[in-house]
Point group: C2
DNA sequence: ATCGTCGCTCGGATATTCGAAGCAGCTTGG
DNA sequence: CCAAGCTGCTTCGAATATCCGAGCGACGAT
């Protein structure tokens, strides 16, 4: 061990910081994706817009309050839009924005990975 | 009412099951990725194995207790391995397994998305 | 011996999520 | 008409998850 570990160059350089290995961008992304249902909600919107109850059912296992929260978050972040269809029957529809759509390839990749490596348990 | 679903057939199609719009696989994946730091931890391990403190610093903002928890989770799920290097200096090293490595393309995709669509706000 | 680092664990605050219930408006239907 | 079901949420209390700081044993350097 003598030769090698004496110095520690791994990720601190004299100048200062900003040596974030894990990608600051990745970290930023996971401030959203790391919330319990955000990823799944986005995935449910992948193929088509949907209403509140529709999402609730499609996702399964999420509570109304949380879904409402997630939807607000996502809308606030500009990943989805909430559209109210007046008419009489008063329907609401959530859909992906461009920013949200741009995330779909990543989600598909994850889905693929899950299908191959996480089939149903480990 | 117009359109669809006149009767209460939410979204079951005749063929069989798997009508889960959001992809069951995606949902499964987000049982891990949806936990607050899991994605970032994996991302930090992308290029090279690392020790506990090293990860703690590289990630920044995570507490020891949570990091420890995440590491256990990930190890339990078979995405990373914990290797103890005896010697005297007693070092521990966490590294991705094959399963974990297989997830990297997806993470890169997410990172890319974040760089383009999530540059700096909030 | 004293200090600093590494790899964790423990305890207690604080934030997040859950699950059920409630409310208003519209629709079916008896 | 009025019960009963649907949709789109909101509120509440309780369970969980996460955060933060402190501490412990082992080791190396000073």
């Amino acid at each position: 061990m003598d030769g090698m570990a004496t110095t520690r160059q791994p990720n601190l350089d004299a100048a200062g910081e900003a040596c974030v290995r894990g990608d600051a961008a990745l970290a930023r992304a996971f401030e959203f994706l790391g919330k319990r249902w955000n990823g799944v909600v986005l995935g449910s919107l992948r193929d088509a817009p949907a209403g509140f109850r529709e999402l609730s059912r499609a996702i399964g296992g999420i509570s109304d309050s949380v879904l409402s929260d997630r939807l607000s978050d996502l809308a606030g972040a500009g990943l989805i839009v909430r559209t109210v269809c007046e008419g009489p029957p008063l329907a609401v529809s959530y859909a992906l924005t461009d920013r949200g759509k741009a995330l779909m390839p990543a989600l598909e990749q994850i889905s693929l990975w899950a299908q191959e490596h996480l089939l149903q348990d480990e």
